[in-house]
């Protein structure tokens, strides 16, 4: 079969099993777009901004576990994609981004729409390539997918100069079936000796805690983790990225840890004598002040990326390997922990739990954001449900108050914290699962960063549900200003807001404005009842609610601030 470079690009994606590609055309990718036009196997989704193409591909990848693919033009198309690439990089999401480039003879001449995108993205991709010859396209793309999806996953960018895709040059095409690279050999199973050492520590532990992260979800190891929790009876806390690996309702689940984690999770970490970190990377939002992190604990760390181990926290027993096989072996060991000690440990944990740190004052006058999430759960719990999020207080409220029971159901930008992620990510999820209910919880500031995608949702009939917790502030910024800048709300008020319901309507969607707590549940029911429509719910919430508990940046796990509501209650008692 003889194909042009442009056709090879398209055929390689098809051979790779790609179903959807999110993109935006421009001069440098016109040959590829022409080849796309002439095939039927793969669907191209035209976004309205390249950032959204990368977030949509990313959302698709997070929900399915398959690599997301985006295609953008050179220069501004490529730079617009950078935020989405960095977002995927920070959360280890498999993604392949194709960028057009000026023709090879023009590279380096500051040609029209030329940027050195491999240079720009080098620090925020797992790897990138600049293809120089048409003969290299197939193999480079095969390598890109291989690298993106194996080991610790991540985005791979492939820069393709326009002349390389010239329709006039045709060469024989053959897609490599298998890739092997002498310079890249991701690890598989963990070292048996290390696993044995870990078991020894687990048997001896008096106050163990499992701390699991996004790696368990990306590594499809939820079943194995559930088994381990069951087998050992150990308490488990999950990071923002790890929620749902073990069901929120599991009695051993202590909830999220870290800056806005639960009292019981953070206290258990602080008092623990053995931390079993699984697919988690000791991010500063999780650890707080490193010098005070888990002062009494030995640390076992299971991770596919050797560079994650002992990066922030010194690890006693590193196990480098895919979490799935390692957990399988670990749970088959039938580790019998010290039952007496564990019982005493659980008693202490129950005491922390009984504080019920997430309680908040209910109101029948104004919708509390926590109530908005709890009610969302009430209405959607029986559905095949995915929740994406933007970044801010609403994200933390969702993480705290929506109990995720399954992996890949909670989709948010944790590492980079990218406002604008939520709606395009939901588009990617909905595309992958047309029958599922996909909602995006967002803030009035975040949603405006990719609001143009309401048009894409219209064009492709994506019936996502947007739950805007509208507090009129960049709430998370305002919270820090209230607590650490004596209430000087410098530029955190979101002025000149549009009427979101009407805005959604002009794009052909359904808009709702919900103000009264008494109406909320019914309004949600109505909205989620509209199976085929995008419904934009502008939920006006308490403007000055804060997220608690909270650990200030740079403080230890035991130095949590509880909500003033809980504190006042304690004073009364």
């Amino acid at each position: 079969m003889e194909l042009s470079g442009a056709e090879i690009v398209v055929q390689a994606l098809i051979d790779e099993g790609v179903e959807y590609i999110w993109g935006y055309p421009g001069g440098a990718v016109l040959h590829i777009y022409d080849a796309l036009f002439q095939q039927k196997k793969m669907r191209h989704i035209l976004v309205r901004h390249e950032q959204a193409a990368t977030h949509a591909a990313d959302g698709y990848a997070r929900a399915t576990g398959k690599p997301g693919v985006a295609l953008v033009t050179s220069g501004p198309g490529a730079t617009n994609a950078v935020t989405g690439i960095a977002t995927a990089y920070m959360d280890s999401i498999p993604m392949v981004v194709l960028t057009g480039q000026v023709p090879t003879p023009f590279i380096g001449s500051d040609a029209f729409q030329e940027v050195d995108i491999t240079g720009i993205t080098r620090p925020c991709v797992k790897h990138n390539f600049l293809i120089k010859r048409v003969e290299d396209i197939a193999e480079t793309l095969a390598k890109a997918f291989y690298i993106a999806t194996t080991g610790r996953p991540g985005p791979v960018l492939v820069d393709i100069p326009k002349d390389v895709t010239d329709p006039g040059v045709r060469i024989p095409y053959d897609y490599p079936k298998k890739i092997s690279m002498r310079s890249y050999r991701p690890v598989e199973k963990g070292h048996p000796k290390q696993i044995r050492k870990a078991v020894d520590l687990m048997v001896k532990a008096q106050r163990p805690v499992i701390y699991s992260g996004g790696g368990v979800i990306q590594g499809n190891a939820s079943d194995e983790l559930r088994k381990l929790v069951k087998e050992t009876g150990f308490p488990i806390t999950q990071t923002l990225m790890g929620l749902g690996a073990v069901p929120a309702s599991d009695p051993n689940n202590l909830g999220m840890l870290g800056m806005h984690g639960t009292y019981e999770a953070n206290m258990a970490m602080h008092e623990s004598d053995l931390i079993i970190a699984i697919g988690a990377r000791f991010d500063d939002r999780v650890t707080g002040k490193l010098a005070q992190f888990c002062p009494h604990a030995k640390v076992i760390h299971i991770d596919v990326d050797p560079a994650s181990i002992s990066k922030n926290v010194k690890v006693d027993v590193p196990i480098v390997g895919q979490v799935k096989p390692v957990l399988k072996v670990l749970s088959e060991r039938k580790t019998k922990p010290d039952a007496e000690a564990l019982k005493a440990w659980w008693q202490r944990i129950e005491a922390w739990r009984s504080v019920e740190c997430l309680r908040y004052p209910h109101s029948d006058k104004v919708i509390k954001p926590q109530f908005a999430i709890e009610t969302l759960h009430k209405v959607t719990r029986r559905r095949d449900f995915y929740l994406t999020s933007d970044v801010g207080q609403h994200q933390m409220f969702a993480a705290q108050f929506y109990p995720f029971e399954k992996p890949r159901r909670w989709i948010n930008s944790g590492g980079l914290g990218t406002m604008g992620f939520g709606m395009p990510a939901a588009m990617g999820v909905q595309q992958a699962f047309p029958k599922a209910t996909v909602a995006c919880v967002t803030g009035e500031a975040s949603i405006q960063m990719c609001i143009q995608e309401l048009a894409t949702c219209s064009q492709y009939n994506l019936p996502i549900k947007i739950v805007l917790l509208n507090n009129g502030y960049m709430g998370m910024v305002r919270q820090w200003q209230e607590l650490f800048y004596e209430g000087r709300y410098s530029h955190s008020y979101v002025d000149a807001l549009p009427d979101f319901a009407r805005l959604a309507e002009t794009y052909g969607h359904v808009g709702m404005t919900i103000e009264d707590p008494a109406d909320l549940e019914e309004a949600y029911k109505e909205a989620f009842g509209m199976k085929d429509r995008l419904v934009f719910m502008n939920v006006l919430v308490d403007p000055e609610e804060n997220v608690y508990p909270m650990i200030e940046a740079g403080k230890g796990h035991h130095e949590m601030h509880m909500s003033p509501y809980l504190n006042s209650e304690r004073e009364l008692a």
Binding site: T118, G119, R122, P123, K126, H127, N128, L130, I147, M181, R182, S183, Y184, D305, P306, A307, I309, S310, K311, K314
Partner: protein, 163 residues
């Protein structure tokens, strides 16, 4: 502590930038970096000299290994090894000084590789410390130009860093 690290890396465009960028982005110290293709032209060998405590060096080694283009890596400082650096020094060699400079070059086993009526250019190979000592010995006011390669390293014994 000072570490000297040898890296076999794919001879691809951008490979050097990945290494340099890694050091810049993660704030690692880099004292010298030399790179050239080896007998297998698809590979380059890089020699890196860096400073850092144990944890930093551990991270540097892991982060380098994580680069997709890096094929193999060895921290030479972990075993016994040999280091050599090349230096060329151009000095003012006017009437009164010519003999003295020639003697100094002989003592350090440096070769004079270019001569004019007013200058010498000397070439000297050795450990970095030896090159430092030579520069100490040459009167500062006669030095016109110094160029150093940065050290190269190889492990002692029959084993080599190969594929």
């Amino acid at each position: 502590m000072r570490h000297i690290i040898s890296v076999l890396i794919e001879n691809e465009s951008g490979a050097l930038a990945r290494v340099a960028g890694l050091f810049a982005a993660r704030g690692y110290n880099i004292e010298s970096l030399t790179v050239a293709p080896i007998e297998d032209p698809t590979l380059s060998r890089m020699t890196l000299v860096t400073h850092g405590d144990e944890n930093v060096i551990e991270q540097i080694v892991k982060q380098l290994n994580k680069l997709i283009d890096v094929v193999k890596l060895l921290d030479l400082s972990e075993g016994s090894h040999i280091e050599r650096e090349l230096m060329m020094v151009k000095v003012k060699a006017e009437k009164g000084m010519r003999e003295e400079l020639k003697r100094l070059a002989d003592i350090f086993r440096a070769n004079i590789i270019d001569v004019t009526s007013t200058s010498y250019t000397t070439e000297l190979t050795g450990t970095s410390a030896k090159l430092d000592a030579f520069l100490e010995a040459v009167p500062e006011e006669v030095i016109i130009e110094v160029v150093r390669s940065g050290p190269l390293g190889i492990s002692r014994g029959p084993k080599g860093l190969g594929l």
